[in-house]
């Protein structure tokens, strides 16, 4: 059974999750929410009420840009990483790697 991750842990890494999903291609809000749930196999679920304010915050900071584009007979707002966003993603990713490696060194090792 999947253990629900701590709310604060999820909150602190929400930006990283979104930036990582936008690294390869532009995506719309609904797709981002679905992908987070799918790729984490249901462990991480984003409340859409938090997703959109977060997307707008990232846009205001200049880390992503949102543009309306036609999709399936209607227009959708697609988000893309900016150059600044890409740099931030790099920094956040290496910080996450260092953090998770450090936690793993403590949690995964059983001392005799």
């Amino acid at each position: 059974m999947a253990v629900a991750p701590d709310r604060e842990l999820k909150k602190g890494n929400a930006e990283l999750l979104i930036l990582a999903l936008l690294e390869d291609q532009a995506r719309h809000g609904y797709e981002i929410g679905k992908l987070i749930a799918e790729r984490s196999e249901g462990v991480l679920r984003f409340h859409v009420a938090s997703l959109y304010p977060l997307l707008y915050r990232l846009e205001r900071r200049g880390w992503v840009t949102g543009e309306w584009e036609p999709a399936g007979g209607r227009r959708r707002r697609y988000y893309r990483l900016t150059q600044t966003g890409r740099k931030i993603l790099g920094k956040q990713r290496s910080r996450w790697r260092a953090f998770s490696a450090a936690v793993n060194r403590i949690v995964e090792v059983r001392h005799a």
């Binding site: 009420a49 707008y56 205001r60």
Partner: protein
């Protein structure tokens, strides 16, 4: 198919975003609701159930309003915009409060309700009628300072001055 834009517009109320961002936010949130609705229908759920599931994504619209404004504008939603204080559904409440305040502002109403003294309106002939001649005499004879205070007078001399307000002639005749 429900009109998702209309639903979102009503739920968000007067969200004061600049440069037409409000319409864009409404459209985007409406699309989110619509996609979730269509997905639920595709899973064989009834239309009513699908609509309920879709709307359940946004439980607290007031909180969402505040967060959306903060995210887009980088500032807190003004206090008068919070909790829908001035939303159309609160119009009857504001109307009643306004009329009540207006009514209380009229000196006649204040006098009638005896809530607040009208400047310059007290003591008046009506006020002195609250104590009968006999009652005033009893107060005077008792010499009780507390009773003077309750009568709104501070000393027997004032008591004498306050008494003739209604029947000054009878007061004089009594002393005589």
């Amino acid at each position: 198919m429900p009109d998702w834009k209309k639903i979102v517009r009503e739920k968000l109320g007067t969200l004061p975003l600049t440069n037409g961002r409000r319409d864009e936010v409404i459209e985007e949130l409406a699309q989110q609701l619509e996609s979730a609705y269509e997905e639920a229908l595709a899973h064989g759920v009834s239309e009513q159930q699908a609509m309920r599931r879709s709307l359940a994504q946004f439980k607290d619209w007031e909180k969402l309003r505040r967060e959306l404004f903060h995210s887009v504008e980088g500032a807190r939603l003004p206090v008068w915009e919070q909790n829908g204080f001035f939303s159309p559904r609160r119009l009857p409440v504001w109307t009643v409060l306004g009329l009540s305040a207006l009514l209380l502002a009229l000196p006649v109403s204040r006098q009638a309700l005896e809530i607040l003294p009208v400047p310059g309106g007290y003591p008046n002939p009506k006020g002195s009628q609250m104590f009968s001649e006999a009652a005033l005499r009893r107060i005077e004879q008792s010499g009780d300072k507390q009773k003077y205070a309750r009568a709104g007078l501070h000393c027997p001399a004032q008591l004498q001055r306050g008494r003739p307000a209604r029947g000054s002639s009878s007061g004089k005749s009594n002393r005589a």
